[in-house]
Symmetry: C2
Subunit: 376 residues, 2 copies
């Protein structure tokens, strides 16, 4: 993996770069649509490529391990071939999902024992096994196995957990060195900074992660319920320490405003279920605010779904039509809004990149943040 | 509406023709995907046009009347504009759906009183009102308001019902003469032959319908549970009487084999929910038989969904991948199989047309009927 910086904003820490992987180049800042179980919900791969212009998508190790299983994925020749997606893929480590099971998991130094949400069967992920699974999946960028602390979190728990994450990271690195990739292209490991919302822990963690000298670094444990000011404060602390010549990935973030604010602080990569999950609930993101398309007010509004026409659905369908589809529980409702929202998120990061390179990012960002913070 | 016959098979009554409407030309024999509530379930209009190659789709008057309502459709300028579908549309009269409500409807000479399946509210359809609603929807081909008898049906009930349908037809015709179309293009009324599975009633009804001299004619009340032999026998009786220079539409039929057998008997138009409904349950139709894609046997089958590659999904996705999507309850599962099945149905009628024009329809049909009658 190569990372090139093409420009840094003079009035902020926003960066425009590019990441080159065995499956092509990703222009940063980038948003990665979430394809949990080998599918970005309601969206065809062709639409991701041609309409949404997704440079990279994310898969979830926990889900892929349970279904279709690593055995099927290995026989398929990896996730790219299995789902017919030839552009880059990033997988998380399974950690976050496993911790979300709360009552159904137990964490020890060795790893995490958990019960499947599908059939209650028992499973065990160690840092080593999480790497093996990610070798079987074959994503271009893979994540270290970490513990993601909840919010709020006691200081001592956060501190011990951070150290556990650091020890696990070393095990991940060593295991990958001994176990090469399976499909003839490189997989790049991103370590994860933890430390909850404690400035000193975040600093310690970022300093430790920086010493690993990985090709890219991630920030985990944010966007878990903390106030946005705390999220931004932690991002700022960590970005000041993580190496400038490596891409920085803020996991699980966020709203369009969150994304712009974190780009301002030096983040290059994002992922979040928000554009797709909210789409399925009838919520549209636009450059001029959010729309609840189920509202009665759109019943006779035959104007385009979004005048900006970022993806073809924006002018192919009217607000009244999409409202009707939601009211009638038609599948097409969710398909249309998912394409719209993902198209908008990808447009937003591409616009951010343009403005970083043009040197007017800060003013554009301030305008957009105000403009998007409206309910239409 | 103009109907042109381009060829009749020498060894059967199969016909190749074309129907020209205000929204373009339909090559017959044709299959019409069902878009009940202004959407062919799980399929984008763009996919219907470019991937499936649907010349015409069907809308359901009962559903469209309840949602989005005729008021919304009129403000939109009709269903074509509302759903952004510029090719021809056919609407049923609402009769069939209303009768399906069984306990929630009452039939009198005046019309049918029924309760909405959505909120239980009371409504009344007369032949005149069914025409008004279809004027508001604005389909290119509209259907007479008829009573669709169940199977089995007592002779006297079927006879009285048939006469009621005939009297209602006259009211439909008169009402349409007094109430012109709303959107500047012609709407063509198709009367419907009834008579259950009684040969003499079917003959009487077909003779009566023929006297109306409509631009096209339909056969209703079949594919409601009767053995296929009875369906074919009734189609044959009716096709021998209905005018040869007008298109014949067999409502609600059917399996790929049903379609080929009825083309053989002189039918030009079909509609059925089967390709889309079965697709959503994981059943694929192919030229070599049906596939239940949920079966364990496909778990590690990475061959294309359908080697024939009729629509792009057939080679874009493997059997193992689509099985995984069903097992994981991913929306994309239904989207892929719906495109496949509709693409296959449209391929089948286009192939039939080619073979009719080439003069070898009968042999091709016999081969296909045998070939498709297999579970893969």
């Amino acid at each position: 993996m190569q990372f090139q910086l093409h420009g840094i904003d003079v009035n902020s820490k926003a960066r425009a770069g590019s990441i080159t992987t065995g499956h092509g180049t990703i222009e940063t800042p980038i948003f990665m649509p979430v394809g949990t179980a080998a599918s970005v919900k309601t969206v065809h791969q062709r639409e991701l490529e041609h309409d949404i212009n997704a440079d990279i998508i994310l898969g979830n190790t926990y889900h892929l391990y349970l279904r279709p299983t690593t055995s099927v994925l290995e026989k398929a020749g990896g996730l790219h071939k299995f789902m017919n997606w030839q552009r880059p893929i990033l997988t998380d480590s399974g950690g976050y999902q496993v911790y979300s099971l709360s009552d159904n998991r137990k964490i020890t130094e060795k790893g995490v024992k958990f019960k499947s949400h599908i059939d209650g069967s028992s499973h065990f992920f160690s840092p080593e096994y999480a790497m093996d699974i990610q070798r079987s999946i074959g994503a271009d960028i893979i994540m270290a196995f970490d513990e993601c602390t909840p919010y709020p979190c006691e200081y001592n728990y956060a501190k011990n957990s951070m150290h556990l994450t650091h020890r696990w990271l070393k095990r991940c690195v060593e295991h990958l060195e001994k176990n090469p990739p399976l499909y003839g292209y490189k997989q790049t490991l991103f370590p994860i900074v933890q430390g909850s919302t404690f400035k000193d822990l975040r600093e310690q963690s970022a300093e430790f992660i920086a010493t690993i000298n990985a090709e890219g670094n991630a920030i985990g444990g944010l966007s878990v319920g903390e106030p946005v000011e705390e999220m931004y404060a932690m991002t700022e602390v960590v970005c000041n320490i993580l190496p400038k010549d490596k891409p920085r990935y803020l996991m699980g973030v966020g709203t369009p405003v969150n994304i712009l604010e974190n780009i301002t602080l030096g983040i290059d990569m994002f992922d979040c279920v928000m554009p797709t999950r909210n789409a399925r609930n009838g919520m549209l993101f636009t450059a001029y605010g959010t729309i609840n398309i189920k509202n009665k007010k759109w019943e006779n509004d035959f104007s385009p779904l979004d005048e900006m026409d970022i993806t073809y659905v924006d002018t192919a369908y009217s607000k009244a039509y999409v409202r009707h589809l939601f009211k009638s529980n038609e599948y097409l409702a969710k398909q249309i809004t998912s394409i719209h929202n993902l198209g908008f998120y990808l447009w937003l990061v591409r616009e951010a990149r343009k403005h970083i390179l043009a040197g007017d990012f800060r003013a554009w960002k301030d305008k957009m943040v105000k403009q998007m913070d409206v309910r239409l």
